[in-house]
């Protein structure tokens, strides 16, 4: 059934700027794939193509094919809104809805998506928050504003918010870059837990993080996918000179 995401001949532009060049790779299901590379290499654009968020930016354009379990996400008549329900996203900076409580934040996706039943919502919120390893910390403060939480808690709240709509895939765009090491460790632990049920694609600047959490990794450079493979092999025996230079810290 679930065979993950396969990307073929993906190109993306911001206006005239060709930011992704002919990317093809496979993201296996129920695992963690890391996307690494220096700033501006197209990592974020790449994962934003997967949930069709790239095209939201004025002037942005995508060509190519992305299949999720065999279904073309860029096929004719495919509604990006429905794609985004199946492919959740967590951003670099925690972005809880500031006027909503912890509970409302997690319920937002379902509620604004049309779910009214209080019991169903309450169940989903608790399940999502437990999944996001936040339930025990906030269960007595569900009515407090999401903004009252610490940075790391806010990021887990955002993960919970994304999980509540029960996506098949979770995209994480440098989810720990705004967090301290303890909060980072919690999120990494969470990622290892979530991959049992989800396919995860994580963009990271931190190569130790990529090594700790991912099974597969792709190295991007200037809009091209230089190398992709099993993380351990990519880090120990890279095939491409540029990959080796990057992971040994010679540039970027």
């Amino acid at each position: 059934m679930a065979d993950g995401i396969s990307v073929a001949g993906l190109n993306a532009w911001f206006g005239e700027n060709h930011v992704l060049r002919n990317i093809s790779l496979r993201v296996p299901a129920n695992g963690v794939t890391a996307v690494i590379g220096p700033s501006g290499c197209g990592k974020s654009t790449f994962i934003r193509c997967i949930n069709r968020m790239h095209e939201v930016v004025p002037g942005a354009r995508v060509e190519g094919q992305i299949l999720l379990n065999g279904e073309n996400l860029y096929g004719p008549g495919v509604d990006p809104v429905l794609i985004r329900r199946r492919i959740g996203m967590v951003f670099q900076k925690p972005n809880p809805f500031p006027t909503m409580s912890v509970w409302d934040n997690v319920a937002a996706g379902l509620r604004l998506g049309g779910v009214r039943d209080r019991a169903v919502l309450a169940d989903s919120v608790e399940r999502a928050l437990r999944h996001a390893a936040l339930w025990d910390e906030v269960k007595d403060d569900l009515d407090k504003s999401g903004m009252s939480l610490s940075g790391g808690q806010q990021q887990r709240l955002c993960i919970g918010r994304a999980l509540a709509v029960q996506p098949e895939v979770l995209l994480m765009d440098e989810p720990c870059s705004a967090l301290d090491p303890i909060a980072t460790a919690k999120i990494e632990e969470l990622i290892l837990d979530l991959k049992k049920e989800l396919t995860i694609v994580i963009v990271t600047h931190n190569m130790q993080q990529a090594a700790r959490v991912s099974e597969w990794a792709g190295f991007f450079l200037m809009g091209e996918l230089v190398e992709v493979g099993v993380t351990k092999e990519l880090f120990t025996t890279p095939h491409d000179k540029r990959t080796e230079d990057y992971i040994t810290g010679r540039f970027g």
Binding site: N51, M89, F91, T99, G113, S145
Partner: protein, 282 residues
Amino acid sequence: MSGLSRRRTANAVMNVLAGSAAFVVILPLVLVLAFLIYQGGTSLNLDFFTRLPKPVGEPGGGMANAIVGTLILIALACGLGLPVGILGGLYLAESRDRRIPWVVRFLADVLNGVPSIVIGIFAYTLVVRPMRHFSALAGGVALGVIMVPIVLRTTEEIVRLVPASLREAGLALGLPQWKVTVRVVLTTARAGIITGVMVAIARIAGETAPLLFTAFGNRFGYHGLDQPIAALALQIFAYAISPFDDWHRQAWAGALVLISMVFLVSLAARLATSGLQRQTRR
């Protein structure tokens, strides 16, 4: 050392300058309020709020009709002006198109600068002439038109301040654009929008010129939206230019009531929005 002492002196001088500038800002308000209380406070009593005006020569009477009239006119203006202003501002802030918003923004700024008496003439031509008589509705249209550009521009500014990351968070949850706009963007901006609305209400509450030939005023109670209606500003105007001392005192009292209404509206807005912000920070 001399550098440090010079900086200290400069600091002290700037503090005094900035402090006195702040004082000059609030001075006119304090003076106007004090003068109004001095001149009009004595004529304020229960009758003023509950009774209709008495004919010339008879002492007593009140401005109940004008107070109610002003409230009705404000409600009408809000009913007409707020939907257009808020939705229009949302469009200006969220639209991807560049040209149309530029034109709308420019025209709104021009409209904001149009003298209110000209807007009164507009409402006269649009509503009074076809109906063949003055009416509350015409007054509401005139005031509503004055509100639109103020509400439009403040809504736009506030909505622009909503971080793009929140829109993205909404879209990434699989919500359609319109739901993100209404339920995330508008909700996040609501405190600022309420403030803008209150500023607009304070502005129109005191407008007199556009009401002269639209609402027209009347000395009796409310008789329907299609009939002339009293307003505090109109009543103050009529009483202030009259030759009667008693009416002058009533005009002062009316001015005091009007300014208190504006003051209370502003205060309520402040409290409401700071309440919202506290809720967010909690």
